[in-house]
Symmetry: C2
Subunit: 277 residues, 2 copies
């Protein structure tokens, strides 16, 4: 999906909500456990209940890998089930030397047709670009979402360290350097909702890039603060919620309640879109 199409979907749905599919076999409602593929069945019902209010879905790959080959099949079925007008994010946080990153690109972009993948920047340019082109040809409509300033406590360990070149924290250097590797039509950044002040500075650094924002809800970030700090004329935001939606109820009504939660967030987002875009 290209940038124009993504913005179009956001405008149609008045929503920049991404639903995180962190589907944990230990947390899904008991009545699903007797189905053939409980993880897929859970995702299917969550997607049906939330697709009206969400523009993106983000399966967290760890949760599928923890189920081995069977989990990989659940993931494949899930990605095929997500409506084509929704943007899909493989939350994989990969990143390796060139020929290995190319293999991950094949796994997530060719075999599973995700639109995007989250990537860790530590290994530098040649760990990132194989996702964006193959054999010198641009992977049109495929995106890297690079970790910049993440939402967790450990983001303080290295990301905030000042680096000599330009006297800026590492996460700003990551953004500054990597923004030369690809345009805002193939590159987004992960910026945690737990850092609203820094988000304003990041928005100034990359006024035209989409930011994928985790950390609203369970991790304590505020949708209002994030929206004020980073919404642009082209929207430029995808805000993720996982646990706050998909585990809002653990009963038979889990999908209905998830739909209600998604609707609440979408309505709040609609008001911010009217205010700031």
């Amino acid at each position: 999906m290209n940038k124009k199409q993504l913005i179009h979907q956001i405008k149609i749905k008045s929503s920049y909500l991404c639903v995180g599919l962190d589907t944990d076999i230990r947390k899904i409602p008991a009545h699903l456990l007797t189905t053939e593929d409980p993880i897929f069945e859970f995702n299917k019902q969550i997607i049906e209940a939330t697709a009206e209010f969400a523009v993106a879905y983000k399966p967290n790959i760890a949760f599928y890998e923890s189920q081995g080959a069977k989990g990989w099949e659940s993931l494949q079925k899930t990605i095929e089930y997500i409506p084509k007008e929704c943007f899909t994010i493989a939350d994989a946080k990969r990143g390796d030397i060139g020929n290995t990153s190319a293999m991950y690109a094949r796994a997530f972009f060719e075999n599973m047709s995700f639109d995007s993948i989250t990537v860790a920047p530590y290994m530098g340019k040649d760990s990132v670009t194989p996702f964006l082109q193959s054999n010198g040809i641009r992977n049109e409509g495929k995106w890297v979402i690079l970790l910049a300033y993440t939402s967790n406590k450990g983001s303080e360990d290295f990301q905030k360290l000042y680096v000599s070149e330009g006297s800026m924290p590492l996460y700003e250097q990551v953004i500054t350097t990597s923004s030369k590797w690809a345009g805002d039509d193939q590159l987004m950044y992960v910026v945690g909702a737990t850092h609203p002040e820094e988000m304003k500075k990041i928005r100034d650094l990359v006024p035209n890039h989409f930011l994928l924002v985790p950390g609203v809800g369970a991790q304590g970030g505020s949708l209002k603060e994030v929206s004020e700090a980073a919404l642009t004329k082209e929207v430029g935001l995808l805000v993720n919620s996982s646990r706050g939606i998909i585990y809002a109820s653990d009963g038979k009504d889990f999908a209905k309640v998830a739909g209600q939660k998604a609707k609440e967030i979408q309505e709040e987002m609609k008001s911010y879109l009217q205010l700031f875009c």
Copy 2:
């Protein structure tokens, strides 16, 4: 496998060779493609031919993921086939917020009984420690191999940047900080063979930690230089070779030739062990 057992195996085999199982369906010999599981069949024959000369095996997870659920099954069979006295490394380069890293730990340590996993440091402490303990209980004999100074060109983009705290390059800061998170019985570092000078300094920083060294062979690093720079009384080195061994021949003799290549490296290692340990 704990540190003492690993050193014991190295002494028995006079080898600190790790064989990288970067098994690419497009590169394995044609006569294997008609078998039920060509990737596993290839690995099985490579392991049989090299186990006498190698103390560790390192499947590169991307190559299995690129084959979807079937690749995951090949990986599972491979890890079960590796002799129990060999140290196993999931070259996965994972790293995510705490509850997600815990899921990856489950995938690689519980479901597949790898001894260790490579982890990217960018997200900090809480992305690393869930691999080393669960519910406050230490995962005895399980290791994180943290990316420090990698072998690829992109290692220059961020890892070499000087950080303010202590005026050292980021990769040294990663080592200095993370060495407080766990002992040398659960933590190793990835240091590319392409940086022999820096390897000496890293050895001074962490005199008792094992280093996992990729980049000998196809990437241009020298086994001799690496061994001179970083061998210790407790050995402290695992040197990986992937393509130089497993793709040394693409004919029916691929396993035999792989065995010969592994033996050549092991013999060279034996001489360095006598010289430096």
